[in-house]
């Protein structure tokens, strides 16, 4: 098998650059967090030098006490990942997003955001903003383009309704577009389990008699695939493997047996490995715990105290250095499209 042609999936950027083991992923996140913390402390020290109000000592002490751990970062990011599907549904209801594009847009946005935070920390970029930019970018990548004004409208309306102090503007979304895309290493093609699941569903029809129940099972898999998007499984397994894991869970719910299909379709040696992977995938999916609003609120309260002043437009440092140098991030301001 050494000279076989590489599988199509093995040629994708997803396979080549975005694959980890649980321990390599944890290591990367820990290192990323550590470097982020260093930058926060360095930024605060720099701020102390330019700050003439003399409150910097307190600020440094507060930040040091409230620094987020990698796990806290993940929980906060996780909360905003969950928001993506609600936002996406709003666009669907207002006919800006076609129902058939929903799954891909949602899944790509979630994936972008997860990848983004492998190369950034929440101290620098708050997930609330990154979430919107990832979602907008995902609409473009998944051929579901809408104009930025259309994208902003429901968000601004929601801000106004909730009496929020700030109203989302197009610059908030577009200003981060380059920051996001460069952190994605400009790799925009993402593969999801939905299509693989559909492929399996078609293939299974040749092996499974009871088509009605099979359809029930297939329809149920979407639920588990949705759930899988929020886990780290995408960094460990191929979309087709996750799809099969979701199929097995769906089959259990419907008291159905897809193992019969698997045993006919794969040889004993592959099956042994496959079942091992599928067990882990099923555990990963069912083990997913939602981040609650309360979790997010508590972490967010800490984050206010430990943001990197270098990246925070409201900080003294930012106002005195970044703005003064005229090096403000890209903001789109023209009318042409």
């Amino acid at each position: 098998m050494a000279d076989r042609k590489p599988q199509l999936f093995e040629q994708t950027s997803q396979y080549q650059h975005w694959r980890f083991t649980p321990s390599s992923l944890a290591k990367l996140r820990a290192e990323n967090n550590r470097l982020g913390v260093d930058r926060v402390l360095l930024g605060l020290q720099q701020e102390a030098q330019v700050d003439d109000q003399g409150a910097s000592d307190t600020r440094i002490a507060e930040a040091t006490d409230n620094l987020l751990t990698p796990a806290e970062e993940l929980k906060l990011i996780g909360f905003y990942l969950q928001m993506i599907k609600f936002c996406a549904k709003v666009y669907m209801t207002s006919k800006l997003l076609k129902p058939e594009s929903l799954n891909n847009v949602k899944a790509t946005a979630i994936n972008f955001m997860k990848r983004f935070y492998l190369h950034n920390v929440v101290f620098d970029y708050h997930p609330k903003n990154i979430m919107l930019t990832c979602l907008y970018l995902a609409t473009k990548v998944e051929n579901a383009f809408m104009k930025i004004d259309d994208f902003i409208r429901p968000l601004a309306a929601a801000d106004a309704k909730s009496g929020s102090k700030t109203v989302t503007k197009s610059e908030d979304v577009l200003g981060l577009e380059f920051i996001v895309i460069q952190s994605l290493q400009f790799e925009l093609a993402v593969h999801h389990p939905y299509r693989a699941a559909y492929g399996f569903y078609l293939d299974m029809q040749q092996y499974i008699e009871d088509k009605d129940r099979l359809r029930d099972v297939y329809e149920r898999t979407a639920h588990y695939i949705d759930q899988s998007l929020h886990t780290d499984l995408v960094f460990f397994y191929q979309p087709s493997q996750i799809a099969l894991g979701a199929f097995k869970l769906a089959a259990k719910d419907k008291d159905f047996d897809v193992d019969l299909y698997l045993t006919q379709r794969f040889d004993a040696r592959s099956l042994e490995l496959l079942f091992l992977a599928l067990d882990e995938i099923q555990d990963g999916i069912t083990g997913f715990a939602q981040a609650t609003k309360e979790d997010a609120r508590l972490i967010d309260r800490k984050l206010i105290l430990c943001r990197n002043p270098e990246k925070n437009p409201n900080s003294v440092l930012y106002k005195k250095t970044v703005v003064a140098q005229g090096d403000v991030p890209y903001v789109s301001d023209s009318d042409s499209d």
């Binding site: 199509l8 040629q11 994708t12 950027s13 650059h17 990367l28 290192e31 990323n32 470097l35 076609k98 058939e100 594009s101 983004f116 492998l118 190369h119 950034n120 907008y136 970018l137 473009k140 990548v141 051929n143 383009f145 104009k147 930025i148 979304v173 577009l174 577009e177 380059f178 920051i179 895309i181 460069q182 952190s183 994605l184 290493q185 400009f186 790799e187 925009l188 093609a189 299509r195 890209y330 789109s332 023209s334 009318d335 042409s336 499209d337």
Partner: protein
């Protein structure tokens, strides 16, 4: 991705620092292309700088499509996207540097094409396209000037600004795609669900153009494109394209008879005409696919495709192309000697080309060559 930096911004800066821009090569409405080089290796590159200053909705769709597609494709006949970096408000694509394109070659009347040359270009083009289709990607803008040519003669598929993935029947795609003269009939009739067969149609048009040295189906407007197509290919019948006469918009086209293709493509072999007809089949379902096209008898029969390095190409300086030889004939500037398959009696394209150049024009009429229109 061998970079040690973790931070997205740092990785981007590292990438940018690898290249140096030199002079401007060209400017389009949305991008400027620079000649540049990789600082450490000295490798020549083209840097396509996409300006975003005036994009109301941020990164535009063609930039997204191009980056998304090229980041996934690696093939000798697809342009290599070496790196990407952003700089303030511009997106920079570092592409392999390519000297010329197929349109320039076709239009250069000083170049003579032999059947073996056309076969070579078609083979490289179809290989690149087959790779895209295998990766479930449609190019959607195939035309001669989107096939670039490297200094070693390799043909490379480029400009992926309209490319997108396909295969999901539930998701409609626009029929307003592909440059008009290369647009497949199903697109002209408004199909929103299509496959790689639309790229194959365009390839078929390019095949014909290589033989005719002129665009094959030059419709004057979108409306006239179907008429031009039907006049050249014969109006399709229900047998030829089941369902075509039952389209919701009706089927009120003038019935043109099917012409004798071998008359028009007199310089082409029967195999060549057969493959061309299969690529230009009206029914997209029966139209030949890229990988089957590569298996067609045309690519297995003689003459063998010309080695890429021996293909005709425009000289930098036209005045230097032809050098008068002692016997009064003209000799190409580049070396053809390698192309001679000594001892087997087969005249190679390069050898034949030299002979033709030496023969008076009147004697050439009966030879199977394609000459400038």
């Amino acid at each position: 991705m061998s970079s040690k930096a973790i931070l997205g911004e740092e990785i981007n800066k590292e990438t940018e620092s690898l290249y140096k821009k030199e002079k401007k090569l060209g400017e389009g409405t949305y991008a400027v292309v620079y000649l540049g080089h990789h600082i450490k290796t000295g490798r020549k590159v083209a840097i396509k700088k996409i300006k975003l200053g005036n994009m109301r909705s941020g990164l535009d769709m063609s930039a997204i499509r191009e980056v998304k597609a090229l980041r996934e494709l690696r093939h000798p006949n697809v342009i290599e996207l070496i790196d990407v970096f952003s700089h303030k408000t511009s997106l920079n694509l570092v592409l392999e540097f390519l000297d010329t394109d197929l349109e320039i070659v076709i239009k250069d009347k000083s170049l003579v094409f032999m059947p073996a040359d056309i076969k070579s270009w078609m083979m490289m083009a179809l290989r690149g396209l087959d790779h895209c289709h295998r990766c479930w990607l449609l190019h959607r803008d195939l035309k001669p000037n989107n096939f670039l040519i490297a200094s070693n003669g390799q043909l490379k598929l480029a400009d992926f600004g309209l490319a997108r993935e396909f295969g999901d029947v539930k998701r409609a795609m626009t029929s307003q795609t592909v440059t008009r003269w290369y647009r497949a009939p199903e697109l002209l009739l408004g199909a929103t669900n299509y496959t790689g067969s639309i790229d194959i149609w365009a390839m078929g048009c390019i095949f014909a153009e290589l033989s005719l040295r002129a665009p094959y189906l030059p419709g004057a407007s979108d409306l006239e494109q179907l008429t031009t197509t039907f006049r050249a290919r014969g109006t399709p019948t229900e047998d030829e394209w089941p369902g075509v006469t039952k389209l919701p918009a009706g089927y009120n086209f003038e019935r043109f008879p099917k012409p004798q293709f071998s008359d028009l493509f007199r310089g082409s072999s029967d195999d060549a005409v057969d493959l061309m007809n299969k690529m230009l089949a009206f029914n997209p379902v029966t139209r030949i696919g890229a990988s089957d096209a590569l298996q067609h008898a045309y690519f297995r029969s003689l003459p063998r495709p010309t080695a890429p390095a021996k293909l005709p190409r425009p000289a930098q300086n036209i005045a230097d192309v032809d050098v008068e030889t002692a016997d009064g004939g003209k000799k190409r500037q580049y070396e053809d000697a390698f192309d001679d398959m000594a001892g087997n009696g087969i005249e190679t394209a390069a050898a034949a080309r030299d002979r033709l150049k030496a023969e008076p024009a009147a004697k050439r009429a009966d030879l199977r060559i394609s000459s400038p229109a």
